[in-house]
């Protein structure tokens, strides 16, 4: 008998955060992520922590900033429209080099959009979280187990590289239940936090947490230093899964819940005699460009599948330097494709190749 428990994705993520030492949460209710806050509101007081409902997403992310500045592991979660509101705070947190974890259980957009599963915040998460030269680490779980595992990883990565890490999930992953084993991951070594503002105790010089530089040269230097860290992350922290790509003529590229649908489609297409595989980015930033470039040596055609209008297509094209055709299939607004829909697209491409 294993140590597995059956849990919703949102709750597994919340429990994994606690197990990672995060006992402080600041958030604001929004569907479909509210279970994260509700779960933590029940659990955190019992472990000496705090789940505080802020007056807005803006306040919540700034409470996260204050907590992070003291070296405390801290998290906020929201869904698409709420992440837009957090944008300002994310930029400041990145500019101050503070670690924290931000969860986006995506729903359809733009505007108020809908409340059904979506991946329409891909560009926002990977390229334009907020103003300024900055990135956040973006992890895309595709199972309830990964909602837990990657939450733990996000806290470690945030601390190691002193930057925000985002869990980019969707309403389906948040709501579904699967078995989860909270001991499946080993935590990493975290550097000492010497930069914290929690009262110097007369034992060190005062620390300042700040993103303001009136001297352009100093600001440039700070950004360049940060981008060196980004380069290190790109080198060391790319995560992806390859599924049946070894002999594949066609490779699907999909993450999150969509990658699950694509796995079923790969099996069905293989049964129909088409050599298909799947590359599933687990880190969306840093992006697994190298793995895609390598696949482009042998693969004849790439098919990007997303719950949006094709936001990841450019990243695939850039990764393979447009050496192979890249098609797109997706649904948006909260609609989910079936594996059959994906197989139909595969067949169209396979017809062209043959």
């Amino acid at each position: 008998m294993s140590n597995k428990v059956l849990m919703k994705g949102n709750e597994a993520l919340a429990e994994a955060a606690i197990k990672s030492g995060c006992i402080h949460f600041f958030g604001y209710p929004i569907t479909p992520q509210t279970e994260v806050a509700e779960y933590l509101a029940k659990r955190l007081p019992k472990v000496g922590g705090l789940c505080l409902q802020a007056e807005s997403e803006i306040a919540a992310i700034n409470m996260v900033m204050g907590a992070a500045a003291t070296g405390t592991r801290v998290m906020t979660s929201s869904s698409s429209p709420g992440i837009s509101l957090k944008s300002e705070g994310i930029s400041y947190i990145a500019g101050c080099d503070l670690p924290c974890v931000i969860v986006n259980v995506q729903r359809g957009g733009p505007g108020l959009g809908g409340i059904q599963p979506s991946q329409a915040d891909y560009n926002q998460a990977t390229k334009a979280n907020a103003h300024g030269d900055m990135h956040v680490i973006v992890l895309a779980p595709s199972s309830v187990q990964e909602m837990a595992t990657l939450a733990g990883e996000a806290f470690d990565l945030a601390d190691i590289y002193r930057m925000p890490a985002m869990i980019l999930a969707d309403g389906a992953l948040g709501q579904m239940m699967e078995p989860v084993d909270f001991d499946a991951r080993e935590s990493r070594e975290i550097p000492e936090k010497t930069w914290v503002t929690n009262g110097h105790g007369g034992k060190r010089k005062k620390n300042i947490v700040n993103s303001l530089f009136m001297d352009p040269a100093a600001l440039e230097a700070s950004v360049v230093e940060r981008f060196k860290r980004y380069d290190e992350i790109k080198e060391k922290e790319v995560k992806y899964e390859e599924y049946m790509t070894e002999d594949a003529d066609i490779v699907l590229v999909a993450y999150g819940i969509t990658s699950r649908i694509c796995k079923s489609a790969v099996a069905a297409a293989r049964a129909a005699g088409i050599k298909v595989g799947l590359l599933r980015p687990i880190t969306l930033w840093p992006y697994p460009s190298g793995a895609l470039a390598k696949l482009a040596d042998t693969v004849k055609h790439f098919l990007v599948v997303e719950l949006n209008m094709g936001q990841m297509v450019d990243d695939v094209k850039l990764s393979i330097e447009c050496r192979r055709p890249v098609s797109f299939f997706g649904r948006t607004g909260g609609m989910l494709p079936t594996p059959d829909d994906v197989v139909e697209e595969i067949k169209k491409i396979a017809g062209g190749i043959a």
Binding site: S2, P32, L336, T338
Partner: protein, 178 residues
């Protein structure tokens, strides 16, 4: 071995309990399992359905466009999902609440008056467990005794009276000849 199960009805009919019981039993036997509820405005309208996939292989899509087992507890669910059952699949209908029969010849349909049987036996609210019993009979997906002992093991001591009722409900469903 893969079972793609959809259970559908109104909120309050124990659909979540029944589907979670299947999922937990599968996990207990170290099988792969996924459980996906319908949610959103549909949920607020009173309709409730769950998709449970149980497999000895890794599960891809948790969505079930074509269930090979469909259990319906009301007419809207019958109308919505009956045509989607995969050929060769199994349809279980609570015939107390659904006064309609499938006209498909490519699926196996089973009609059990679960809500009526529950009322007759003073097992109000346990039509869901009666149907689970019938599902075990029809599919043999779990061993009856181990399913029963796992199910009652999750009942807290404070509600010990429920053990007897659930045991009876499961047996009634299992023994029913549809």
């Amino acid at each position: 071995m893969t079972h793609n199960i959809v259970i559908s009805g109104f909120g309050g009919q124990g659909i979540l309990f029944a589907s979670k019981q299947l999922a937990k039993s599968a996990m207990h036997e170290d099988l792969h399992v996924s459980w996906l509820p319908s949610y959103g405005p549909e949920m607020r309208g009173g309709a409730c359905n769950c998709s449970v996939i149980i497999s000895d292989e890794e599960i891809g899509s948790p969505l079930i466009p074509h269930p090979d087992i469909l259990i319906v507890f009301n007419l809207p669910s019958f109308d919505k999902f009956e045509s989607q059952v995969a050929p060769g699949g199994l349809l279980i209908v609570d015939s107390t609440l659904v006064n309609k029969k499938s006209e498909r010849s490519d699926i196996n349909a089973s009609y059990i008056p679960a809500t009526g049987l529950a009322a007759e036996n003073k097992l109000d609210g346990l039509a869901n467990v009666i149907v689970l019993g019938h599902l075990l009979k029809k599919t043999g997906m779990f061993d009856y005794d181990s399913f029963l002992s796992f199910m009652v093991s999750s009942i807290p001591p404070a509600k010990a009276a429920l053990i007897e009722k659930n045991t009876l409900a499961l047996k009634i469903g299992y023994d029913y000849e549809s």
